[in-house]
Symmetry: C2
Subunit: 236 residues, 2 copies
DNA sequence: AGGAGGCCATGACCTGGGTCAAGGGGGAGG
DNA sequence: CCTCCCCCTTGACCCAGGTCATGGCCTCCT
């Protein structure tokens, strides 16, 4: 943390331009296109658990993660459950849909997962005006939103039609495929997989007993990748 | 039907402009903005069951329903189940996401629900170029996609976290709130509600026995609206 | 060192939803 | 008019997932 703060003296617009021009969404645009946008950006640092925005807020800001990660989630079942929609790391947009949908209130909460998490904040009005007025940017943004939507659709479809074992296997393959991986808490995993902590615990135990994974102090390692892939439903 | 066919001699571009300028997505744009787009449009008529496109197709065309309706759905569980994503009526876009996402293959199938169903076909390349080059259009399209995404999210979230009874009650309230409504087949309803025909039959029977709805030859009428609203989970 | 709170693990039990199978009715076509 | 076929209906059974409750471990704070 102290290390990454060695260059805090660079002005925000410079860092913002650097960040934007290396992001997947805006990376294709020319620096000339991005500079006016970057000039409007400010940075904000959050601690784990700190909320970036809440469902119902009018989206006045577009965020891009600079470091750390942000979890976007909805609260359902009358507050008894959380469903994580996605987790965004560096160079990824948060609140894209809300900002571009017009004045609709945000449909989800967003919270920092790590300390520190730094985000670039861009005023929604400026973003809209600039993006819509620059065809290359508009195309990139729409493509990005569309891709996000497709991912979300696939995930929720999985929640509806596949079993917990499949989803957990898929998660493990995605996050622990190469080398060990520090598991989130069962509660966070449950929010991601659309279930409750007890069942995460059970299934992890089952996978362990079957010799599919190694589990030690929340560090997980894949032992039997082919079997996990079979469980994940490559053809089920 | 015959009545609406009394003016088939109007040239396509004129009808296309008429349709586009009265649509929610493009309605806000000026006729001058829309005319070049309309000039590229052609109409196509489908019979019930006819496919507009298939999942996996590269989206070369943006469709706007002119009359009839189109069901967009995914096939899941290795072909054993269908999940209806949405049903679009006149003046609504179909395949919006696919067209604007770039070259990604379509994630869903689309099929006509009625005979006849007429759609306006707009070449994807022309649409992209024109929309991205016209800020007002770009804004409208992005807002539309974003809204669609929010709806889809809410629906799928409902599939995951609410019970069949709630979903069916919500469906009845939405479609049969005022006056009688011709029910789709149980199979179609099941695809919409994310379940199987047997359970639709059971739940409908249950609602009937409880005196919540009237059912006669597939015509349904809401009898006890307050109770249905309670079941639909306004606060559950 | 001790206490407290959070997280994990595990057992017992319940229920909604899905599957399978059998029976019935209505419409289309011969 | 009869027959076939499709779809709806209904019953019996099964199971994944969810809930509730208990007990243990680890960690952090005092």
């Amino acid at each position: 943390m102290a290390a990454s703060d060695h260059v805090p003296t660079l002005p925000d617009p410079v860092r913002a331009l650097e960040l934007l021009s290396h992001s997947p969404v805006f990376g294709g645009a020319s620096p000339a296109d991005l500079r006016p946008l970057a000039a409007r950006g400010t940075f904000r640092t959050l601690r784990r658990g700190e909320l970036l925005f809440r469902a119902g807020d009018v989206p006045e800001t577009l965020f891009m993660v600079s470091s750390g990660s942000v979890r976007v989630y909805r609260v359902v079942r009358g507050g008894t459950r959380e469903l994580t929609l996605h987790v965004e790391g560096p160079r990824q947009l948060v609140a894209g849909v809300g900002v571009f949908a017009g004045s609709d209130p945000a449909p989800a909460h967003a919270v920092a997962l790590q300390t520190p998490t730094e985000v670039l904040c861009l005023p929604a009005a400026a973003v809209r005006e600039h993006v819509f007025g620059t065809p290359a940017l508009a195309a990139a943004v729409i493509a990005s939103l569309a891709r996000r939507q497709a991912e979300l659709l696939a995930r929720l479809e999985g929640l509806v039609f596949s079993e917990l074992g499949e989803r957990l296997a898929a998660y493990l393959l995605e996050h622990a495929a190469d080398g060990p991986h520090a598991l989130p808490t069962n509660s966070d995993l449950a929010a991601l997989l659309g279930t409750v902590p007890e069942l995460v615990s059970r299934k992890l135990g089952e996978f362990y007993r079957l010799g599919l994974i190694q589990l030690e102090r929340r560090q997980v390692r894949v032992l039997d990748r082919p079997e996990l892939e079979r469980l994940a439903g490559r053809g089920g």
